[in-house]
Subunit: 213 residues, 2 copies
Amino acid sequence: MQVHAIIPFKPSNPKTRLSCVLDRNEREALARAMLDDVIGAVGAAGCRITLLCTEPFEHALAETVVLDGGLNEALNQVLSGMDTPVLVIMSDLPLVNPRDVIQMLATGADVAIAPGRGGGTNAIFMRSPQTYHVDFYGASFLDHLRIAEENDLSCEVIDSFRLSTDVDEKEDIAEVLIHGNGMCRRFLEQSGFVLSIEEGRVGVKRNAHEQTL
Amino acid sequence: MQVHAIIPFKPSNPKTRLSCVLDRNEREALARAMLDDVIGAVGAAGCRITLLCTEPFEHALAETVVLDGGLNEALNQVLSGMDTPVLVIMSDLPLVNPRDVIQMLATGADVAIAPGRGGGTNAIFMRSPQTYHVDFYGASFLDHLRIAEENDLSCEVIDSFRLSTDVDEKEDIAEVLIHGNGMCRRFLEQSGFVLSIEEGRVGVKRNAHEQTL
């Protein structure tokens, strides 16, 4: 049965913690590049894709729905009416590739959770979404484990560095330059970002003369 | 053929970036607890274990050698004389479990690298260590990829959140409280550390009255 992937997406003024290195237009382009990487991976894994957006938005490879109310409420309303397995995956995971998604969908458990750093949930697969509900924000990873247990659902934790890597802060850009190979990396390189090694630690810097976007 | 695991270890005054929340004795106990987690995983995976230490140190489950000179020089001197496969793995990976190690050792490639965050290398497996050399510090992940290529060795990148998670800073403690289940987690809990969720973000705080160690 085809898995339905739901990707929450904020087209306008996203990733404000990157304002130190990217202006608003650039942050919107970055978010779009990351979304394209996620859509590419999820689509190659065979999923049907719906973007759950904070405002009207169009994408050639996915249907879009405008979010009505909070993210959890909207997601749970959608989940309660689904009769196919569902994957909810964040839009800011530029390292994800089809193999990672296929691995998640192949779980033998009722629910599979890919944690993000800091207690978050970067992707969650539900074989029977009517029997589950999501609770993003805060320590959502532990909440999602608990919700599975309360509903007597088996749960697999997906151990993936790529799925754990979301891009929120300047330091995260280094991960994309080191490990990425998709649209987000291309955008960052075209925007002049390069790795910078100072005192043995890896960071990024931006070369002004390459800001051609 | 039994794999020889080499674990660099600094017994005295380690993890100074954690001085904000742990005094020196506690940081030494933390480092020891993390080492025990790594030794447990590597030992259960069937490896013979040598600790490469910055000073004399004894451990019931591993032989110890005192480092002579810099880490890279010492490691490469050891590697050049090895006729068995070698796994070099960091001592500060408290989430690692035997399955992670077994997965690494089962690679079909000549070299397998588990990246850490920020461009580091948290573990590297070499099937024929005489044909390879290591270069830790800085962007060692990219350096290790390059060294494999220069030596015509196939290389697999191990995608593991647990292997990518080393503990250097206060934020990393949260990962252990969320995902760990070994000696390091026990030490942190006995030291009064608990998760703290403020403004939707997960951190840690330390309860003074539980500082019983």
